[in-house]
C-alpha cells in the first residue's frame, strides 16, 4: 500500500496542548513520525535577560503550569550556585516537601489525562478529585493552588503554618488508600492492559542515546534518579530507592509514575519528621558574575538551568533544558511498527507538557 503522511494536531485531543505530530503510515502501520513544535514559544530565555534575578522566579513558575514549583526551584538552585549561597536547612526541607507535593499533583494530572485518552473517563474524575487535596495542601503552605511563586533565591518565601504537618499526614494516609483504588481501576481493566502492555517499546540504549530522562528512562530498567545521583537540598538526608521498571513499554511508564507517587508520600513524611527549626531564607546578593548550572529531577525528567551573570543585576544568558523537549523526539522510536490507534496510548504515556517544551 502507498505510504502517506498524516497530521495529528495541532488541534487534537491527543496532544494535550498545541503541537503537531506528523505520522507516516503504511496502511494502519506507523513507518515514521516527526513532532513539530514551537506553537507556544514565548521567548523565555530572551525575556529573562532583561529582568532581575529575583523577578525571574515568577516567570519560571509559568514554564509548566502543572509542575510550577519544581521549575522555579531548579532556577533558584542555579542562581544560588552562581551567587555562592546556600539555603538554610529549614528552607531546604520546605523545598523538598513542596517539591514532592507538586510531583504528586503533576503525576495525578498525567493520570487524569491518560485515562480518557484510552477511554477510561472515570480516571479523570477520580484523579482530579485526589489532586484537589494536594492543591489544597499547596494552598495552605504557599497561598495559591497553581503558579505558587514559592521558592526564592536563598530559601523559600514563607514558613509553613504550624498545623501543616497534621493536615499533610492526614491527607497522605487518605491518599494511600485511594491510590490502591486507582491501581485496581487501571490494572484490572483488560482493555487498559491490552492497549499498553508491549506497546511503544524503547530499549534502554536507545533511550539514553536520545537523551530521554525521568520516569520514561526509569521504565527501561535504568536506575537513574538525580535526587540520588546528584543530590540537592535535603535529599541526601532522606532514605529512598529510585523506582525502576524493566519492560520499557507504555505499561512500564504507567507503573513507574504510580510507584513514584507512593515514593513521594514516603519522602514527605520523612521530611516532616526531620524538619529542623531555624531561618528559612538568607538574603541573596543583588548582582552576580560568572556561570553556574544546576539540574534537578523534575516530574518529567532532568531539568537544568544554566545561568551566566556579567556583574549586573540581571542574568546575561539563561538556558532552560526541558526534559520533554528531548523525550518527545524519542517518540518516533517508540512508535515505529505500532498501529495508528496506538499513537494515543504511546504519547499519553510520555507525559507531554507543551509549556516547558516550547519555552
Amino acid at each position: 500500500m502507498a505510504e502517506m503522511w498524516i497530521n495529528m494536531g495541532p488541534q487534537h485531543p491527543m496532544t494535550h496542548g498545541l503541537w503537531n505530530l506528523r505520522i507516516k503510515v503504511d496502511g494502519e502501520t506507523i513507518v515514521d513520525a516527526e513532532p513539530e513544535i514551537g506553537y507556544l514559544h514565548r521567548g523565555y530565555e530572551k525575556i529573562m535577560e532583561v529582568r532581575e534575578f529575583q523577578k525571574n522566579v515568577v516567570l519560571t513558575d509559568r514554564l509548566c503550569y502543572v509542575s510550577s514549583i519544581t521549575w522555579s526551584h531548579c532556577y533558584c538552585l542555579a542562581c544560588e550556585e552562581l551567587m555562592d549561597i546556600e539555603a538554610p536547612p529549614r528552607g531546604q526541607y520546605l523545598r523538598v516537601i513542596t517539591n514532592e507535593l507538586q510531583r504528586i499533583a503533576s503525576h495525578l494530572m498525567w493520570l487524569a489525562a491518560y485515562g480518557p485518552d484510552l477511554g477510561l473517563l472515570t480516571a479523570l474524575l477520580w484523579a482530579l478529585r485526589e489532586r484537589e487535596l494536594f492543591l489544597d495542601l499547596l494552598q495552605l503552605i504557599t497561598g495559591a493552588r497553581m503558579n505558587q511563586n514559592f521558592p526564592r533565591i536563598g530559601g523559600v518565601r514563607n514558613d509553613m503554618p504550624s498545623d501543616f504537618g497534621k493536615y499533610c499526614r492526614k491527607i497522605i494516609a487518605h491518599f494511600r488508600k485511594k491510590l490502591e483504588e486507582h491501581e485496581a481501576l487501571f490494572e484490572q481493566s483488560k482493555i487498559f492492559q491490552m492497549r499498553t502492555i508491549g506497546v511503544g517499546k524503547i530499549s534502554r540504549q536507545e533511550a539514553v542515546d536520545f537523551g530521554v530522562t525521568g520516569p520514561n528512562l526509569r521504565a527501561t530498567g535504568a536506575n537513574l534518579d538525580l535526587r540520588k545521583l546528584d543530590p540537592y537540598d535535603a535529599y541526601p538526608d532522606l532514605n529512598f530507592e529510585p523506582i525502576v521498571a524493566y519492560e520499557g513499554d507504555s505499561y512500564a511508564r504507567y507503573k513507574v509514575r504510580m510507584e513514584e507517587m507512593k515514593l513521594s508520600c514516603d519522602l514527605i513524611e520523612q521530611a516532616l519528621d526531620r524538619i529542623p527549626d531555624g531561618p528559612y531564607r538568607v538574603k541573596p546578593p543583588r548582582r552576580a558574575e560568572g556561570e553556574a548550572f544546576r539540574r534537578t529531577e523534575d516530574s518529567r525528567g532532568e531539568a537544568l538551568f544554566y545561568v551566566i551573570g556579567d556583574g549586573d543585576d540581571r542574568p546575561y544568558r539563561v538556558k532552560i533544558r526541558s526534559p520533554v523537549f528531548s523525550n518527545i523526539f524519542a517518540a518516533p522510536i517508540m512508535m515505529r511498527g505500532n498501529k495508528l490507534a496506538d499513537v494515543v496510548a504511546i504519547m499519553g504515556s510520555i507525559d507531554v507538557c507543551v509549556g516547558e517544551m516550547d519555552k
Binding site: 513544535i37 514551537g38 514559544h41 521567548g43 530565555e45 530572551k46 535577560e49 532583561v50 529582568r51 539514553v208 542515546d209 536520545f210 537523551g211 530521554v212 530522562t213 535504568a222 537513574l224 545521583l229 546528584d230 548550572f293 539540574r295 532532568e302 537544568l304 544554566y306 551566566i308 544568558r317 538556558k319 533544558r321 523537549f325 528531548s326 523526539f329 516550547d358 519555552k359
Partner: protein, 163 residues
C-alpha cells in the same frame, strides 16, 4: 583517584596540555574544560568511547558580542560525573561540528541553538528551525536583536508625575 581528576588526566594525556584553554574541577563530580571549535568532535568522541559519557544533557549557545560559545553539558550515567565543555566560535564565522553522529539527542538541542542563535552545526542531518516559523528572518537570542529593556522599569510615577 577520584573520577574528576582521572578524567582530566586522561584528557590531557590524550590531547596534550595546549589543546585546553582552561581546565578545572568546579565542584564535586563536575569537570569543566574550554577548547577551540576544531578539537570539539575528537574530544567528545574520546569522552564517549573511552570515558563512558553516554548522555548529552544540553547544548547552549552564548553570544559574547566578540565571539560565540557553544556550551555542552555531558553526563556519564554509569560513572556519575559531568563534563562541561565551552567551545569557542568566532563571531564572523559561526560554524562548529555537529555531535549528532555521537549522540542522537544532540539533534534537537543543536536545532534550537541554530534557531535562536544562528550557529551552524556542520554535519547535522536536518538543521532547520525548530521553535520559530521557517520564514522567520532573525536569530532572537543574539545580543544585537533589540529587546525593550526600559519598559520593565517605567513606573506609574514616571509616566503621570504622581501616583
Amino acid at each position: 583517584m577520584a573520577v574528576e581528576g582521572e578524567t582530566l588526566a586522561r584528557l590531557k594525556e590524550r590531547f596534550g596540555e595546549e589543546t585546553f584553554r582552561e581546565t578545572g574541577i568546579v565542584r564535586d563530580r563536575l569537570v569543566k574544560i574550554a577548547i577551540d571549535r576544531k578539537d570539539l568532535f575528537a574530544v567528545c568522541k574520546f569522552l564517549k568511547e573511552e570515558l563512558n559519557v553516554e548522555h548529552l544533557t544540553c547544548v547552549t549557545a552564548v553570544d559574547w558580542r566578540d565571539r560565540f560559545e557553544s556550551v555542552y553539558h555531558l553526563t556519564s550515567w554509569s560513572r556519575n560525573f559531568m563534563v562541561q565543555i565551552n567551545a569557542q566560535i568566532p563571531h564572523d564565522d559561526p560554524h562548529i561540528d555537529s555531535l549528532v553522529p555521537l549522540w542522537n539527542g544532540a539533534s534537537v538541542h543543536e536545532r534550537e541553538a541554530y534557531d535562536l542563535m544562528g550557529i551552524v552545526y556542520d554535519g547535522h542531518p536536518k538543521l532547520e528551525r525548530i521553535l520559530l516559523p521557517k520564514d522567520y528572518g532573525f536569530h532572537p537570542l543574539r545580543k544585537e536583536f533589540p529587546q525593550e529593556v526600559d519598559r520593565q522599569y517605567v513606573s506609574r510615577r514616571k509616566i503621570g508625575g504622581g501616583g
